[in-house]
């Protein structure tokens, strides 16, 4: 597990919350969110938990011992779990109301925690490498010229190690295939993404499958992940580093 996940979380029941007839109300210190998720899942809990860290708020929803929903700021699902596990300190409390909408987290919680921990480990490692490289020589940093028009998601702020910088690129397209955001040399990636979208839809339709959610191409070390977002926009990330595409993969449940 990532050392980053060893955050200090204070767990306490909300005042006035209806409790079950049996069991202890606990106030624990030094519990990590990963610990909390494991405890809730192993005990088969059905509960919604609010997490506060400084001015940030997140929610985790459990149903019959499965993590079914996660929200952290604007993020939901797997990316929200990664974000929550990255929070260093905070407090959490059970809340009565369930989160609206369909479940945003699917699959076994063990795999999710493992994937989140791996993503955080990789993120920390790259940040460390970048920091040491920058301190050695700012002038030799050799940043890739970014065509970033606007960046808002973590994916567009991917910090790859120097050796892989030339390979890391990301693009966001609207449903008509127009480039909304771009990082790196994305001409080929944008065209490939738009093409993939059409062909995958045909494949899905022919096989009677549901709507296309995304895909991953693997070629040697190179990973290309395409994600269809809820608003119809399409995100594509290409990199030699698994960590760069981890978040995108989680969005489609890979």
């Amino acid at each position: 597990m990532a050392s980053d996940t060893k955050a200090r979380i204070v767990v306490h029941p909300e005042q006035g919350e209806t409790r079950t007839a049996e069991g202890f109300d606990a106030r624990l210190k030094g519990v990590t969110l990963a610990d909390l998720i494991q405890m809730k899942c192993l005990s088969g809990a059905t509960e919604c938990v609010r997490i506060k860290s400084a001015d940030k708020i997140g929610m985790l929803q459990f149903a019959s011992g499965n993590l079914t929903h996660a929200v952290a700021g604007d993020l939901a699902g797997g990316p929200a779990v990664i974000e929550l596990l990255n929070w260093k300190t905070g407090a959490c409390e059970p809340v009565g109301t369930a989160l609206p909408g369909d479940a945003s987290v699917r699959g076994p919680w063990q795999s999710l925690l493992l994937a989140a921990a791996t993503a955080l480990d990789e993120r920390a490692r790259f940040q460390q490498q970048n920091a040491s490289s920058a301190s050695r020589s700012a002038s030799r940093e050799g940043r890739v010229a970014l065509q970033e028009k606007e960046t808002s998601t973590a994916i567009f702020n991917v910090q790859s190690p120097p050796a892989a910088r030339s390979a890391a690129c990301a693009v966001k397209l609207d449903s008509a295939g127009r480039v909304l955001k771009a990082k790196g040399e994305v001409d080929d990636l944008a065209a490939a993404t738009a093409y993939v979208l059409h062909v995958a839809e045909h494949i899905g339709t022919s096989l009677g499958l549901d709507a296309f959610k995304g895909c991953e191409f693997r070629a040697g070390e190179l990973r290309t992940v395409v994600v269809v977002e809820a608003n119809g926009e399409v995100l594509a990330v290409q990199s030699n580093q698994e960590a760069d595409v981890a978040e995108a993969k989680m969005r489609i449940g890979f």
Binding site: R106, G107, S111, D188, A192, Y195, V196, V199, A200, H202, I203, G204, T205, S206, L207, G208, L209, D210, A211, F212, K213, G214, C215, E216, F217, R218, A219, G220, L222, T224, Q238, I252, G253, F254
Partner: protein, 154 residues
């Protein structure tokens, strides 16, 4: 349909969540072997095969794309390149991915040479023209009983 191919493909069903599999010829997408529910007929696969083959060539890279995983709602389609053909596995999205990877690896190892001989023995056929354009023909009812015309209108 070659019985050895079908039997080997059937071993993929040892993994809970695998719904079926098929092999298409590299370059043409012609279906070489299948282990799928009968609701997915050959005409449907004849449409899908060439598209899968094209998808594997979308990303220009050296080495070329070795595998492709596509997610459609609650289901996924995994494609693995193996020389003369591509192994395609249809499964539930919640399937154990490590188990699926291992099963695909074993099947690919077993079929690698065999598919080459089958592909060489079977002349590459041309996909019937009526099946090429999506949505213009083909069966009305598809996998899981969903109507293609309804799917296309979504």
């Amino acid at each position: 349909m070659d019985q050895t191919l079908v039997e080997t493909l059937h071993t993929l069903r040892d993994i809970k969540g695998v719904q079926g599999s098929f092999i298409v010829r590299a370059g043409t997408g012609q279906v070489l072997g299948r282990d799928l529910p009968t609701v997915l007929d050959d005409a449907t696969l004849a449409q899908v095969g060439p598209r899968i083959d094209r998808m594997l060539n979308v990303v220009e890279s050296q080495p070329p794309t070795e595998s492709l995983a596509m997610c459609f709602g609650d289901q996924r389609l995994d494609v693995r390149r193996m020389g003369f053909g591509h192994l395609c596995v249809l499964a539930e999205a919640t399937i154990s991915q490590p188990a699926l990877r291992m099963a695909i690896k074993l099947v690919c190892r077993k079929l690698e040479g065999y598919v080459a001989s089958v592909a060489q023995a079977q002349p590459a056929s041309v996909v019937p023209e009526t099946n090429v354009a999506a949505g213009t023909s083909g069966p009305r009812y598809q996998f899981r009983g969903l109507r293609t015309d309804k799917l296309e209108s979504r």
